[in-house]
Amino acid sequence: MHEREEGRVRTGYATYVLVWLGLMGLTWLSVTVAGIEAGALNIAGPLIIASIKAIFVLAVFMHLKSEHGLTRWVIIIGLIVFIVSGALVFSDVAYR
């Protein structure tokens, strides 16, 4: 158990604070983007920003970056299933 712990990367306090500042900034950005009347950007913008935020939280706060492969696969498999399922339901609702 000890070796496994020693092998893991320890993230510094400063990294967390920097990421937090980035997240705050992105939140502000998403509200601003949503305020501009720019058609499709109104919808895509906030969602893309939300995804970037989620990736930061996953990678840094939840240490997925330094976690070994399998754990990353857990999330990737889940995402694939959700996206594909969503697309299949979309193929019904959008073409009804």
Partner: protein
């Protein structure tokens, strides 16, 4: 290998008090807990099904009213699916044998494992409580908008299924973690017995799909209690979306039922053919393939629901695609039998029955997967027959095969094999007598879930009802024989079938700790050299 008095069952003749069982974190005792509880609910489910058939013996109300009939088929579905066939193979055999087969002393989270059983019992209690209060009459699918309006205890039934789902998720998490973390030295992924592969693939479906059913059921409760409107057309909601969320789980759930069954068959076939299994990797990959593609076919339950034609074409395509990994398995089993030195043991007979019945189930599934034919056959007896061939003829017979294969290991005693062989034959005849006429009735247009029928269907209905009697006779024969064997049968040797997997290399019944020393695995699971 004499092990008198030191098995996990407790000291000789004294299995210990009830609390040493229901609070035990030993995976073997939890397996037995599941065995006893799941089989009890199976008896309830069989009785309900038997009464449903009996009701149809003459026209009009015979032994129950139409509304009672609706409740009976609902409860039959809920009990058989959520209390019996979904947990049967993974929770009983998975719990008991998965750790032993990979050379571990327990699962990764033993306490969570026990909690999972308690959730199972809580869910079962809630489901059966509706029986006393006023059972739901929606069918096991709880389709909106009817399930939102009916005055019966739908919320309680739905919550029961939610709790059962929680139990299923915990079991899944436990198995995936166990397979990744607790394999014995030398037990690489390509040395895993195929049953372990199957349970592993199943566990992934349990983890990924079950929450979606869970939230769907919560939405039904919220809809009934608060009226949030998402499935209610009057408020702009869409009942078809209910069906989507329901089948996103419930179709893969069919694979939760059948994949571990296929795993059991993959264990039994090579042992009784005395031959290395043909296409080990193909079978392992096809388990993952079924789990993956099988998650994309749910729309074939909704071809006539009003979902789009585009969706119909896509789902029909995937439905045909999922037949490929299933067929790969069947071909590999048959390939294993070719030129094997076959021993006709009881588990093997059940396995053969499985292959036959599952093939009928699979092929009728392809018929239903075709968009145009589906319009004609949807919601008829053809569908009922098809899914019984898959779930009972497939998963159920595989489960019985597993019982006959592993019970000597679990109890340390042998049943009467002659009676067991006869019960297999009676079950096989009864099953086909019961469900084959339904295929014809369905093509002739007999709708499912109807309390009455037109005179021209009488003959085949009667044949089917007589079939249900034969089937029940077979079940009684089988269970009486197995229970007698478990308590009073002669002592079973540690490896009666000459199997090569790890669970047969330890005493019957296993000791409290599976392995005194964690074994070093040096050969594959179907390498019979040096055995018998």
């Amino acid at each position: 290998m004499a092990n008198e008095g030191a098995g996990y069952l407790g000291t000789e003749g004294r299995p210990g008090g009830i609390s040493s069982w229901i609070f035990s974190t030993d995976h073997k005792r939890i397996g037995i807990l599941y065995l006893v509880s799941i089989l009890s609910f199976f008896v309830v489910g069989v009785s309900l099904g038997f009464l449903m058939r009996l009701e149809l013996i003459s026209h009009g109300p015979t032994i129950m009213e139409a509304s009672t009939y609706n409740s009976v088929f609902t409860l039959h579905g809920v009990v058989m699916l959520f209390l019996f066939i979904i947990p049967a193979a993974p929770s009983i055999f998975g719990n008991f044998f998965l750790p032993i087969m990979i050379g571990a002393n327990d699962v990764s989270f033993p306490r969570l494992n026990l909690l999972s059983w308690w959730f199972y019992m809580a869910g079962a209690a809630l489901a059966l409580a509706t029986l006393a209060l006023g059972p739901a009459d929606t069918g096991w699918t709880f389709y909106a908008p009817y399930s939102l309006r009916t005055g019966t205890y739908v919320s309680l039934a739905v919550f029961a299924v939610f709790v059962l789902g929680l139990s299923s998720i915990l079991t899944g998490i436990n198995f995936v973690t166990t397979v990744h973390r607790l394999r014995a030295p030398g037990m690489g992924f390509w040395r895993l017995p195929l049953f372990v592969w199957a349970v592993y693939a199943t566990a992934w479906i349990q983890i990924v799909a079950t929450p979606i059913l869970g939230v769907n059921l919560l939405l039904v409760i919220a809809e009934r209690v608060f009226g949030i409107g998402v499935f209610d057309p009057a408020k702009g909601g869409d009942p078809i979306l209910y069906q989507h969320l329901f089948w996103i789980y419930s179709h893969p759930a069919v694979y939760i039922m059948i994949i571990p069954g296929m795993g059991i068959i993959s264990e039994i076939i090579p042992v009784f053919a005395r031959k290395v299994i043909f296409g080990y990797r193909a079978i392992a990959y096809s388990s993952l393939g079924i789990a993956g593609v099988g998650s994309l076919v749910w729309g074939h339950h909704m071809f006539v629901s009003g979902s789009s034609y585009t969706a119909g074409v896509i789902f029909s395509f995937f439905t045909f695609l999922v037949a490929i990994p299933s067929a790969i398995k069947v071909f590999n089993w048959v390939g294993t039998l070719y030129k094997g030195s076959i021993v006709l043991g009881t588990p093997f007979l059940f396995a053969l029955a499985f292959i036959f019945l599952f093939s009928i189930g699979g092929l009728t599934g392809l018929i239903l997967g075709a968009l145009s034919i589906n319009v004609h056959l949807h919601d008829t007896y053809f569908v009922v027959s098809h899914f019984h061939y898959i779930k009972f003829g497939g998963a159920g017979f595989a489960f019985f095969a597993g019982l006959h294969y592993w019970l000597p290991k679990m109890t340390g005693r042998m049943y009467n094999t002659k009676v067991a062989n006869w019960s297999c034959l009676v079950l096989f005849i009864g099953f086909n007598l019961l469900f084959f006429p339904m295929l014809i009735l369905g093509i002739e247009g007999m709708p499912r879930r109807y309390f009455d029928y037109l005179p021209q269907y009488s003959t085949l209905q009667i044949v089917s009802i007589v079939g249900s009697w034969v089937l029940v006779t077979g079940l009684i024969m089988m269970f009486v024989n197995l229970i007698r064997g478990a308590f009073r049968g002669p002592r079973a040797p540690f490896n009666p079938w000459g199997s090569a997997t790890l669970e047969w290399q330890i005493p019957s019944p296993p000791q409290r700790e599976n392995f005194e020393k964690i074994p070093e695995v040096t050969k594959g699971p179907y390498d019979f050299r040096g055995l018998r």
